[in-house]
């Protein structure tokens, strides 16, 4: 890891050197290089979460530029239900199905997003909890409003906002949705780093990391790297076995229980 960090720093240094030798009035080309301290996070029996660093360099970084790191986990469909008191007890009602919701979503930036980025840029790139796409296609239809076609309207009306907030709140509680203004640190000469924390309940799958360079409110360069979270070792074996050979897994579970129950009784009887 240290070797990789060094190579990257060297590369960044040569980049920066080349940039300096260019004439002052010429516009510097901008670019982002980035890497992770690990490409694969393995979930083993002692897994209690994971920490890693995103680091890299930006060429042509000038005063007032900002860097944003966005980590997007694997997507899945979610059913969100509202608790409604029925006959004195709280019952889950009014299900709304949301599609392609990130299992993990983290945004780290040099400053808080609204300080340097325009609303439309954040919305377009889906950066930040307020701009995260949380869509429930079954409750949506397109309408023409004020002469503008294709406006997406939810049949739930304003209530859909409560559902969306519930998703973000619930995920934030588990450490799955994180927003950290100031989480990206610019070290020197275009070098940056950001710490990312994966909680114990991190879903397995492919993660995409996007690093954006913002200038004058809009992203002018970006770079994507990927990360894989997977179960490993015995955890992997047991999980795959349970999913792929469910019947055999069930038989094994029963057999193990029978043997241990009977075996223990025999051992204690002889004592």
């Amino acid at each position: 890891m240290i070797a990789r960090l060094l190579t990257l720093l060297l590369a960044a240094a040569t980049f920066a050197g080349a940039a300096h030798s260019a004439p002052e009035d010429e516009i510097q080309p901008v670019g982002v290089v980035a890497a992770l301290t690990q490409d694969v996070v393995e979930i083993r029996s002692n897994f209690t979460g994971a920490d890693f660093l995103v680091y890299g360099a930006v060429t042509g970084l000038t005063e007032g530029d900002d860097i944003v790191v966005v980590v997007r986990g694997p997507q899945e469909d979610l059913r969100v239900m509202r608790k409604i008191r029925t006959l004195g007890i709280w019952v889950n009602r009014a299900p709304v199905r949301f599609e392609d919701i990130y299992g993990y979503y983290a945004v780290a930036s040099t400053r808080s997003l609204s300080q340097f980025a325009t609303f439309s840029a954040l919305r377009r790139e889906a950066i930040g909890m307020e701009h995260l796409r949380l869509s429930a296609p079954e409750t949506q239809r397109e309408e023409t409003r004020f002469g503008v076609g294709g406006v997406v309207v939810s049949e739930l009306g304003a209530e859909v906002v409560d559902y969306r907030r519930a998703i973000v709140r619930n995920r934030a509680r588990d450490g799955l949705y994180v927003e950290s203004p100031g989480g990206v640190e610019i070290i020197d000469g275009g070098l940056f780093r950001a710490a990312v924390r994966l909680p114990p309940v991190t879903p397995v799958g492919e993660y995409a990391l996007d690093i954006y360079l913002f200038r004058d409110g809009v992203p002018i360069a970006s770079r994507r790297t990927t990360l894989e979270v997977r179960k490993a070792g015995m955890e992997q074996v047991i999980y795959d076995f349970a999913q792929r050979h469910s019947a055999l897994y069930g038989l094994l579970a029963v057999a193990l229980a029978l043997i241990s129950g009977w075996g223990a009784a025999e051992i204690f009887r002889r004592r």
Partner: protein
């Protein structure tokens, strides 16, 4: 020390789970109860997803009932014919229960149904145990040790005897209709699938008071039925819902099996009334906690659920 459970997909403290297994195993050995009705809610309290808690606890009951069933089989203190009819009902109940479980899981109501079942059953059982053991203590206090326990009143000939499909059970000395037998078996099968319990706490009283079986064969026959029903339920939960966690099951089995042995020994020496009150209080406490969670304002008014493939 934390250990990651591959199916439950959460980390739990290894010693906490082992300790709970030992504790509940000890109680179950001492009182001759399965322990499922205590362990499943406790697993849910410590953060295991309810479907995994229920299915995995069923697996643990296979282990804990295996040794007991074997012992009764050796002593021939069971009515195999009765056991087989109960089992027939149990198989139907278990299959239906696992389907019902999958359906409730898909519609997002499984947690509520599990909680409601527990509140109902724990409330009744805990309440009865408490009343019974307080009465026993009171009698001992009043009469000393000479008090003769009054026999429970036998039911008069009634509805059960009027039912058709009568079969002779030589071991139990009964000639009764199959309808209540199958019904009791089926009820226990459904409970095993929905609540992760063996169902002995329902079946033993039902055998004694409804079927009027002789007490000498009741425990053996109920263990026989519980062993096969929980084995089938474990298999079906694993095959259909993929909710049996082998790592969690292993921890529970180790704790439970060892605890039960010590519990059984302790039970022979210690006077049980006071402890029975303690057990009753624990059951009532678990019941009240579950009931409170149902009626108190939830921390979050919304709940997120994974969409399972079957229902869209």
């Amino acid at each position: 020390m934390d250990i990651y459970l591959p199916i439950a997909e959460v980390s739990v403290n290894l010693f906490l789970v082992l300790g709970l297994g030992l504790g509940v195993g000890f109680l179950s050995g001492m009182f001759g109860v399965g322990g499922g009705f205590l362990m499943t809610p406790i697993l849910i309290f410590i953060g295991i997803p309810p479907p995994v808690a229920v299915a995995t606890q069923t697996n643990q009951i296979v282990a804990s009932s295996a040794s007991g069933a074997l012992a009764h089989f050796r002593r021939k203190s069971l009515d195999i014919k009765m056991g087989l009819y109960l089992l027939a009902g149990g198989i139907a109940g278990s299959v239906a229960g696992v389907q019902l479980f999958a359906f409730l899981q898909a519609t997002g109501q499984i947690n509520l149904v599990i909680s409601l079942c527990y509140v109902g059953f724990l409330g009744v059982i805990g309440g009865l145990m408490l009343v019974e053991s307080v009465n026993a203590l009171w009698r001992r206090y009043k009469l000393g040790k000479t008090g003769v326990t009054p026999r429970p009143k036998r039911r008069k000939r009634g509805l059960i005897d009027a039912m058709p499909f009568k079969v002779r059970f030589p071991v139990s000395g009964l000639y009764i209709s199959l309808i209540p037998v199958i019904a009791i078996g089926a009820m226990v099968g459904i409970l095993a699938a929905l609540m992760g319990v063996g169902g002995g706490f329902i079946m033993v009283p039902a055998m004694i008071y409804v079927l009027r079986m002789p007490t000498s064969v009741v425990i053996g026959t109920s263990l026989f039925q519980i062993l096969f029903v929980t084995a089938l339920t474990t298999f079906l939960q694993a095959a259909q819902n993929q909710t049996v966690d082998l790592v969690l099951a292993a921890l529970l089995i180790v704790g439970g099996v060892i605890g039960a042995q010590f519990g059984a020994r302790a039970g022979q020496r210690i006077r049980a009334e006071e402890l029975r009150i303690a057990l009753a209080l624990m059951v009532v406490a678990v019941c009240l906690k579950l009931a409170w969670d149902l009626v108190s304002d939830p921390a979050d008014m919304f709940e997120l659920m994974h969409v399972t493939g079957a229902v869209s």
